[in-house]
Symmetry: C2
Subunit: 263 residues, 2 copies
């Protein structure tokens, strides 16, 4: 029932990028995340549970699924606390392998609708996670994180996706100029969100194949990427705030793209 | 140049609600926040700066303004680190008095346009802050935090407002059923954001006087408040996410209210 000191140390190290990259794995916590992961194509290395989770009415069904994926290991609440990132681990955690998706693979070559969302150096984990969640909600075909964005497998990013990481392809470490050129070649229109964007998000006729780039919290989208954009989208301001949170801006823009099709 | 141990302890205690309430003050950090505060009607108790901030080109002008408000105290970088909540304090911090705004005071009695945003038990500081920021961006006349929301003067909330706390009236500790009844009496239409809301945010004709309520991250808007709503607003889902982040949902809904007037 007890993990060794070394095992705990190894699990706890997964809160750091270096250890995650070396081993190619990451940590998820909480009933909901494990449930979503169990329905996904991610590879489980191991799952851990404490006595308390047995009270959860859905636990038996989930446990059966987890067992088919990888060893399901009973541990003490103290051991879980010693490596989990949150108090919200709710008695369960799992180690999954990174899913490495080639950024170009999210590009569609057919003529049908395809919405892609690209994060260019988004640095706040909560923002990156909520942007993946919003992309999922608004039906994106995939999300791509640029080379200088926060790490996709940072526990705070994973948690803020609220399971959406397991719903759609999310690629990382992309060379954005290369990706954007390929997307443009495949027929995508490249939209860049910019505080000074001249096209109000609400007045743009979004194309069937649309790729949206959102930038850094402080500096926006990098110049190199901006040059590759066909349309710079802005959100009109009515008050005194200097800018919108980038996660909010992402949701606002994505909420508008379906309007024309819905009408 | 050095603060006493007791002074540091007192400043550090402002990261806790209990200490803030007892003394009726809160802490702000960073050049930008101090600059915005200096333009506002908040009352300064003291400002602190370290040697490093003198390199900032705008410092002399800001320092002159701060001095007029309250004592401007030189401190060591070590002292600042010892009480500041972030590494991003950039060499400056200040203690301000709480600004207590009666929730009803944000209600307008005239017939002109007035947009109010209400947070019903929003618990994540980053969400609450970004909602105040979005409310400011989209021209709200005021924001009200319900009795069970995260504390407005939590340093993470203050920081996430990115200065918007200093741009518009933000009331807290409101008894929401009382507030909503008064607003309805003054001619406001009450809109509640709800995952199951039957009115798509994009199809609603928003009234001149509109009050929007956003709920808790996990449970949404409380039943008692929902009953007082005239319209339940939803955001159509196109993918598999279970919900949107509440800060994102707030931005999406507010982004739509100006459309009819702009056209």
């Amino acid at each position: 029932m007890s993990l060794t000191r070394n095992q705990i140390k190894e699990l706890r190290s997964l809160n750091y990028r270096k250890a995650r990259e070396e081993r190619g794995v990451f940590l998820i916590e909480g009933i909901r995340m494990l449930r979503e992961a169990a329905e996904s194509d991610f590879t489980f290395v191991a799952s851990y549970y404490t006595e308390s989770v047995r009270d959860d009415p859905g636990w038996d069904a989930l446990a059966a699924k987890l067992k088919k994926r990888a060893p399901l290991v009973p541990i003490t609440a103290g051991d879980l606390d010693a490596f989990a990132d949150t108090v919200a681990a709710q008695g369960v955690a799992a180690v999954l392998k990174h899913r490495e998706i080639a950024p170009e693979s999210v590009i569609s070559n057919s003529a049908g609708r395809s919405l892609l969302v690209v994060l260019d150096t988004v640095s706040d984990p909560g923002n990156a996670g909520s942007m993946i969640r919003s992309s999922d909600w608004f039906g994106a075909a995939g999300v791509v994180l640029g080379r200088h964005s926060v790490d996709l497998y940072n526990p705070k990013v994973v948690r803020a996706t609220m399971g959406s990481l397991f719903h759609l392809p999310v690629a990382r470490d992309a060379d954005l100029p290369v990706l954007l050129s390929k997307a443009a070649g495949a027929g995508y229109t490249i939209y860049v969100a910019d505080v000074a964007g001249e096209s109000h998000f609400d007045r743009v006729h979004y194309e069937n194949k649309s790729l949206f780039v959102f930038g850094n919290e402080a500096w926006g989208v990098s110049d190199q990427v901006k040059e590759l954009a066909q349309v710079r989208i802005g959100i009109r301001r009515y008050g005194a705030a200097e800018s919108l949170n980038v996660g909010v801006a992402c949701g606002v823009v994505l909420s508008a793209i379906h309007r024309l099709y819905d009408e």
